[in-house]
Symmetry: C2
């Protein structure tokens, strides 16, 4: 079950185990692809927590490296996490954002390439987002287009 993995991760990161943190990690572990604050907050297990508390905990988990974030071209952040011993999105690859349904997909086969920055610049991270329409939305479009 994901709760055990979640608790384990929290313990390793040396932060208190609270219900919301366990739930966030469990949800992210189970979904396995990047989801927005809104998506997370409408999950059954998290519906009754405060928006703000959710934001604060997502930021904490980001800082501690238990979760990684991808900024969509719609301006909102998606969060993704996997238990350490499970193959999954480590955040170091491009993501695809469907501008129609808002879903984000990992493109895990391709690494984000190394990029040369001017000397003396300090790199903290990279974001590589491809945007467009996913297969599902393109098919939906075809039905109603004509």
């Amino acid at each position: 079950m994901s709760y055990q993995k979640a608790e384990e991760a929290l313990r390793k990161a040396d932060i208190r185990i609270t219900r919301i943190r366990r739930e966030i990690l469990a949800v992210l572990y189970e979904l396995g692809h990047p989801v927005s604050h809104g998506d997370i907050s409408s999950e059954e297990q998290l519906r009754n927590f405060d928006r703000v508390t959710l934001y604060r905990n997502l930021n904490l988990l980001l800082e501690k490296g238990l979760v990684h974030g991808v900024l969509g071209t719609d301006g909102s952040w998606r969060y993704c996490a996997h238990p350490k011993d499970v193959e999954g999105c480590p955040g170091r690859h491009p993501h695809f954002l469907c501008m129609e349904c808002g879903r984000m997909f990992c493109l895990p086969d391709q690494a984000i390439p190394f990029v040369e920055v001017p000397s003396d610049f300090e790199v903290a991270g990279k974001q590589f987002v491809i945007y467009g329409r996913c297969a599902e939305c393109r098919n939906k479009g075809k039905d109603t287009e004509k």
Copy 2:
């Protein structure tokens, strides 16, 4: 002068030539690197125009392809443009965002690589942002750190 280039570009794109459009393009042509709505609106020549009008025109210029946009990891868009006959940022390369001063830099020597997306996905565009600290901010830091 940039105004002539600006008018030329507007004429070619077949949109009305108004004062704000001429000024936006002239400002972007002269700056030559991506700047935010806030940066643009505090430029001398544009200070007296309405926020909303500026947003609407930036969006129009984006649509018409006279300007391109880059979303920073701080969640706000930067806009960049060059006159057609001048070597400049065509938008098809990575950008560096300094998280401290908020300035964005083009990394024009390196093209954004081709990325394979799942079949039947439709690509509309790409965003590739490297974030961290620019040389200037790192130096500033050194003075006060100890």
